[in-house]
Amino acid sequence: MSIDVLIPESVDAAAEAYGDGRDVTVVGGGTIVVQLMTQGWLRPTRALMLSKAGLSYVRKSGSAVTVGAMTPVTDVADLFAPLGPCAANVGDNEIRAQATVGGNLCAPTPPEHPSGDLQGPLLALDASVRSTGAGGESTETVEEFLTHRDARLVLDLSFEEPVAGAFAALDRPHAHHPTALAVSAVKAGDGSIRLAATGAGPTAIRLSSAEAAADDPEAAGQAALADADLQDDALASAWYRERMLPLLVQRVLNEIKEV
């Protein structure tokens, strides 16, 4: 069976080729999609390769940052917390240079465990996602985007540099697997705090109950358990996550408190 492969050379051409996204497999850096094809889990009929679409950029204007979907993860590893330290913790040297920010945001939830480490920091930063697909271009929050990420083509992400940010994750035993559990914290200019976790649900989740108790890090850690949907998977047991989530929440809150 022949596969229809499109390699657009501009953002507009990429949006047109994607159309409503039906039956289109998007190939960004390839670190997720190519191995799924090798293993036989994915058999594309139409593929859209974005390597020449002009979507790799980091633009800064004052405290505002815009990151193109095809930007390698390594290019945001030097940014402020929680995004920078999280990106620096993804995979290994070569994987970070090949994997893309947009691909990581859209990472599917495989049967074995959640993935998409950058979802947490982007959720905590309240990033807005510009994407295209059925109905044309739209901009929405990460929370909204994550609910239909397999039916949209990400163009770029925008967010503000926070007053303070922190990231804490469980150590990974070996390169490339997503982290089993991580917590991101962001303090905005008005003093409000946003918390998000990866590995505590099928995608990254907001820890609203913990945010409400943020003045007391220990209580906030316990409160976070009410927000989480902890599962047993190949990376860690729910039992272990239940014990570690409060500690990670405490750690990031103590860190941003000092700022």
């Binding site: 190939v27 390839g30 191995q35 293993q39 593929a47 390769m49 995979g91 040297n93 070569e94």
Partner: protein
């Protein structure tokens, strides 16, 4: 489509979504890049794409039109080993040899980018490479030696191709 493989322009007839690793091994008969996990986690398939190390098992060949790909075969020959290859010989950094092509390619990129003999930096740079013989110590030592070029003479004479002359003391 075309790629420049080890300095030679090659036409590719495999479909664009074929992993570069399979194009190298099955179409172009270049077999130094190894199929280890084929999921990006072991590093054995690493090659240089425009000078940067990349997993060939995760790279769809269609994204490489016009790119320069360098495999182990492009770094040195049996008669004229590269500095990293000589350091691997001198420090006995290969056991079974399966991970060696990926290690040498990644180490070459690390040193080309100005990498030092700092062992933590070497471990970070090679962090995605697994040695199933667990011979990491000698590999890291070899790369550190290649970084300083201090522990051995980098030239091998044609008369004594298997002898590496050690000049530095230890």
């Amino acid at each position: 489509m075309n790629i420049t493989l080890n300095g030679v322009s090659r036409q590719i007839s495999s479909p664009p979504l074929t992993p570069l690793l399979r194009v190298l091994r099955n179409e172009l008969n270049v077999v130094s890049a190894k199929a280890g996990c084929e999921a990006g986690g072991c590093g054995a398939c690493t090659v240089l794409v425009d000078g940067r190390p990349q997993r060939s098992c995760l790279t769809a060949v269609g994204s490489l039109n016009g790119a320069a790909v360098t495999t182990l075969e492009g770094l040195g020959t049996s008669e004229n080993l590269s500095a990293v290859q000589q350091a691997f010989v001198h420090h006995y950094a290969a056991q079974c040899g399966f991970c060696t092509p990926g290690m040498v390619v990644a180490a070459t990129a690390y040193l080309d980018a100005g990498g030092s003999d700092d062992k933590e930096a070497i471990q970070e740079a090679l962090g995605g490479h697994v040695c199933r013989c667990t011979g990491y110590l000698k590999i890291v030592n070899a790369i550190a030696a290649a970084a300083t070029q201090s522990e051995f003479d980098l030239t091998i004479t044609a008369e004594e191709p298997n002898v590496v002359v050690k000049t530095g003391g230890r």
